[in-house]
């Protein structure tokens, strides 16, 4: 397992400002080619190739396009974007500006989760400074700040657009995808905070250096938010494609019985599978949350907490998610109390499959991830 220092690295000779100046002299197509070559995939969790997303949006014919930085970091156990926003915001601004240049947008937005408003004191003067710099460069582009209102679902890109448009944050039907109809139903690139930082770094150091990290399927590194039963919780930039046992050896307290990879909507990996689990797009992808549970933890409580979270944060729009979350939560309570037989868990697992297949957005589709992986691996803890 290799620790990497790209995201937070401070290079006095190659500042974000100089990277931007240099990049703006290149052709948009060349930048897209570099991004595709780098193999960079979205760092929010879904892992869509960034270069392709930009290419699709660039190819759309429209007078108005937008770049949006998704800073609605709401996944339980994820706190890396907060750190990035606080420590290296210019790298984000540069990523947004480069995207604006590539796709032909004049406006960029940072959608900041409501709970991060305390960051604005630091962010806003830097943003003003950056917008002034863009003006000085003669690049007709401006970045604005938008605040969320506290709903987890607004991290889902189409719900985020609705929220930005002043409406209730409910996910839209897809297609159309954001590259065709995003914010204000115009072609939009929406990227995670971390993705945009990697964009500016790739533009600075070239795709080859980035590609030298990671594996074929999971190029580069990623910032992890490590929490739970660990002596050293915090933010770590690690190379992708690492086996989970190496991670546990580094960060665990010697008694880890399970790792929740990818936050509440991710997967629970039990100790017996640490050795053959890879963290990356070929194994278990993650938006960065790594929660370590040791043997003192009740996995029933862990699952119960997650389900309570989803029960509260489902937007309530679609049936599988709204009612499914309630049934899963109340269902495990009923099994625990003996009001339903243990076999009811099988019924609930089938329901979780339906939620995965039929829910309208990623929120409802992923509730089954923690549910089934915890039930499968810690069944006895759920029942007794």
């Amino acid at each position: 397992m290799k620790k990497v220092d790209i995201i937070f690295e401070i290079d006095e000779k190659n500042t974000p400002f100089t990277i931007l100046e240099k990049t703006l002299t290149r052709s948009p197509d060349a930048i897209i080619l570099d991004l595709i070559d780098s193999g960079l995939k979205g760092r929010g969790g879904a892992g869509f190739p960034t270069g392709l997303k930009w290419k699709f949006t660039k190819n759309e014919v429209s007078n108005t396009k937008y770049v949006i930085c998704n800073a609605d970091e709401g996944e339980p156990g994820t706190f890396k974007d907060r750190e990035i926003l606080d420590r290296v915001p210019e790298k984000i601004f540069v990523g947004i500006a480069i995207c604006g240049y590539v796709i032909g947008a004049k406006e960029g937005y940072i959608y900041l989760r409501a709970e991060y408003n305390f960051l604005l004191k630091n962010l806003l003067p830097k943003l003003d400074n950056f917008n002034a710099f863009l003006k000085k460069l003669g690049f007709d582009f401006n970045i604005y700040m938008k605040s969320g209102s506290g709903a987890y679902v607004c991290g889902e890109e189409s719900a985020l657009f609705e929220s930005m448009e002043g409406k209730r944050g409910e996910p839209r039907n897809k297609p159309p995808y954001p590259t065709v109809a995003g914010y204000n139903h115009k072609p939009t690139v929406i990227n995670n905070v971390e993705t945009l930082v990697y964009v500016s770094m790739i533009c600075g150091m070239g795709p080859q250096k980035f590609k030298s990290y990671g594996t074929t399927d999971s190029r580069g590194s990623k910032v992890f938010s490590v929490s739970g039963d660990t002596p050293i919780p915090g933010i770590y930039e690690l190379e992708l494609g690492m086996p989970l046992n190496e991670f546990v050896n580094e960060f665990g307290d010697g008694d880890a019985k399970a790792i929740q990879v990818g936050g509440a909507s991710g997967f629970c990996v039990p100790r017996k599978k640490f050795n053959d689990t890879i963290i990356g797009f070929e194994g278990i992808p993650t938006g960065g949350s790594m929660m370590i549970f040791n043997s003192t933890r009740s996995m029933y409580n862990v699952l119960h907490d997650y389900l309570e979270f989803f029960n509260e944060e489902s937007c309530g729009q679609c049936t599988p998610c709204r009612v499914g979350c309630q049934q899963l939560l109340k269902g495990i309570e009923a099994v625990k109390k003996g009001e339903k037989p243990p076999s009811y868990l099988e019924e609930l697992k089938r329901l979780a499959v339906t939620m995965k297949l039929a829910a309208k957005c990623g929120l409802g589709q992923s509730v089954g991830n923690p549910f089934s992986s915890i039930i499968d691996n810690f069944r006895e803890e759920i029942i007794y």
Binding site: E170, E312, E313, S314, C315, G316, T319, R322, Q327, L357
Partner: protein
């Protein structure tokens, strides 16, 4: 412009449809019905109930058929094991949060969720019952609409109706997760918010979460009371729709059967709101001509354009949203309320019945009429002018309760007086009808000649366009109206409150130069009213409209001022249109209301 064609297979059957068609519509084309709940032909696509999910070959997820456009080479399966399993789950989930006391529900037998449950035959519920007893208390605050959240399946059809069709947004989604529900501004009761009582939400609610406040038992009680003389009036649009709840196809005219059924139900007199519709034309027509005279001759500041006031949903909308334009509303009461005021005065005297012993019941295509009859202004007879309003649907229920075989009934005629009407009154039921009726009379009053349209049919104001405009040049007037000589009379017609809003905004902005505007609160006018049989769609509304115009063409008299009972009442009782007595009984005033 022709669209590209797309070839796909649904359940292995090839089908070719236009680009942009949804899987749902493509399947319909080859006679596969995919179940839906949140989808409605009048509304934008929501894709939130997920009942319509189908399998698309190669896709990771199931697709909502209502929200997914077809693509070339797509292979869709609408009833695979995966689909059936998911669909059953979705319906079971909906049932688990639904107050399924179906036998006690007003919508029993007319519920789309019940139909689905019927098709899938679930037996014992697998999932836990999530409906709490305390949630079963319905909002009964409104005299028009009952909102029972325990029956709500959160499809948001009502929210979209209220926003998209009516531009009111009294109903909206609040909270999230298991607390998400459809509610009002600050969760206030329905009678304290901007709700216009139009009932369009009821027409589109798939379950019994939104229903009319029903007064069926009160009406039966009045009928059974030997000391009460129960008079019933029927609105124009009911006669082309009530059959739909009694086994007939949309578009059937059942005027005579409806009268026959009302007699059999035990009403003492069966009279017609169409009579007061004709009277409205006289009152409103003269009001318009008077306003024009005051502007053109007396040079007084008078509110123009004048707007019709027959539609109580529209009236309340105006009071909430455009209170600064209330002077533009005609002061005429709606035909229902004119009827009530005359029934308990003029008519009661004629038939020698004491007004306090008279009960006036209205059969209306409308839920806002239930609110209207409760307005304190509507007591000019000294009593509550109209006691109970039943929707077309409630009437159908009474007919069924009484065991009347509706389709076998003989046609019967309305009682007289207050039962005679003309074709001009019948067309009040369709958008543009009041305008057409008013023009038929006003033009003739001013010029002494019939309106210059073939067979009296003023086609420019008919049809389903949201806003219709027409200009009629007034030439060769009678001497007393010579101030109108050469005037281009500009009129507009709007139906559905979102269209009304557009017109009002244009009036406020001064970008239009109308003299007279007809507005109906509901899409299509009263034939699409909130009290009409469910389901509704453009197709159904068009059929009802055709029936209305056929009824008009079949009438011997087609101009309101030729209605002999109307002529008689002016001679005998009212004196002249807009006269003193008219103003006491037939006109009213409006009050501004809060915006939310």
């Amino acid at each position: 412009m022709s669209k590209f064609l797309v070839n796909l297979k649904i359940n292995s059957i090839p089908v070719t449809v236009e680009e942009g068609t949804t899987i749902l519509d493509a399947a319909k084309k080859i006679n596969f019905k995919i179940p839906t709940l949140c989808n409605h032909p009048d509304l934008t696509v929501a894709g939130n109930c997920r009942v319509c999910v189908v399998e698309v070959k190669g896709a990771r997820l199931l697709a909502a058929a209502c929200a997914t456009p077809v693509s070339e080479g797509m292979e869709v399966f609408t009833n695979s094991e995966k689909v059936r399993s998911a669909r059953k789950h979705v319906i079971e989930l909906l049932l688990s949060e639904h107050n399924a006391d179906c036998t006690k529900c007003f919508k029993n037998g007319h519920c789309e969720l019940q139909d689905l449950a019927n098709e899938y035959r679930f037996g014992d519920h697998v999932f836990l019952d999530l409906v709490k007893a305390k949630d079963k208390i319905a909002d009964m605050s409104s005299p028009s609409i009952v909102k029972d959240d325990s029956k709500c399946i959160k499809c948001q059809r009502c929210v979209r109706t209220c926003e998209e069709l009516q531009a009111v947004s009294a109903l909206a989604v609040i909270n999230k997760g298991d607390h998400q529900k459809i509610s009002t501004f600050l969760n206030k009761p329905m009678n304290e918010v901007v709700c216009t009582n139009c009932g369009q939400c009821i027409n589109r609610c798939p379950t019994g979460a939104l229903t009319e406040r029903n007064y069926i038992e009160d009406v039966w009680k009045a009928i059974y009371d030997p000391n009460k003389f129960v008079v019933v009036q029927t609105a124009p649009a009911t006669r082309v729709a009530v059959g739909e709840y009694l086994g007939l196809e949309p578009g059937h005219r059942v005027t005579g059967k409806m009268v026959s059924a009302l007699i059999k139900l035990g009403f003492n007199k069966v009279l017609d709101t169409d009579f007061t519709a004709d009277l409205t034309i006289l009152e409103e027509g003269y009001e318009l001509l008077t306003r024009l005279k005051r502007v053109l001759v007396d040079k007084e500041p008078v509110a123009l354009p004048m707007m019709t006031s027959c539609s109580p949903g529209w009236i309340k909308f105006q009071e909430h949203i455009f209170p600064d334009l209330l002077d533009n509303l005609s002061t005429c009461k709606s035909p229902q309320q004119m009827f009530g005021a005359l029934a308990k005065t003029y008519y009661a005297d004629k038939i020698n019945i004491k007004a306090e012993n008279m009960v006036v019941v209205s059969i209306m295509p409308c839920t806002a009429k239930k609110f209207e009859c409760e307005r304190p202004e509507m007591r000019d007879s000294g009593f509550k002018d109209v006691d109970y309003v039943l929707t077309t649907r409630e009437l159908a229920m009474m007919i069924r309760q009484a065991g009347i075989e509706f389709d076998k009934l003989e046609d019967q005629h309305y009682d007289s007086i207050l039962g005679e009407s003309t074709g001009a009154a019948v067309i009040f039921g369709a958008t543009g009808g009041v305008m057409e009726a008013a023009l038929r009379t006003a033009y003739e009053v001013v010029t002494g000649r019939e309106v210059p349209f073939t067979n009296l049919n003023i086609k420019p104001v008919r049809g389903m366009d949201g806003v219709k405009e027409a200009t009629i040049k007034i030439k060769n007037t009678l001497p007393e109206w010579n101030f109108l000589e050469g005037v281009d009379l500009n009129v507009a017609v709007a139906h559905g409150l979102s269209n009304a809003k557009k017109v009002m905004e244009a009036v406020k902005a001064g970008t239009v130069n109308y003299h007279f505007i007809e507005i109906m609160g509901c899409p299509g006018g009263c034939i699409g009213g909130g009290g009409q049989p469910i389901p509704t769609s453009m197709e159904i509304r068009k059929k009802r409209t055709e029936a209305i115009y056929m009824e008009d063409e079949g009438m011997p008299l087609r101009k309101s001022h030729e209605n002999p009972e109307v002529v008689e009442i002016y001679k005998d009782y009212l004196g002249e249109p807009n006269g003193h007595r008219s103003h006491d009984l037939l006109h009213t005033h409006y009050k501004p209301r809060i915006r939310y």
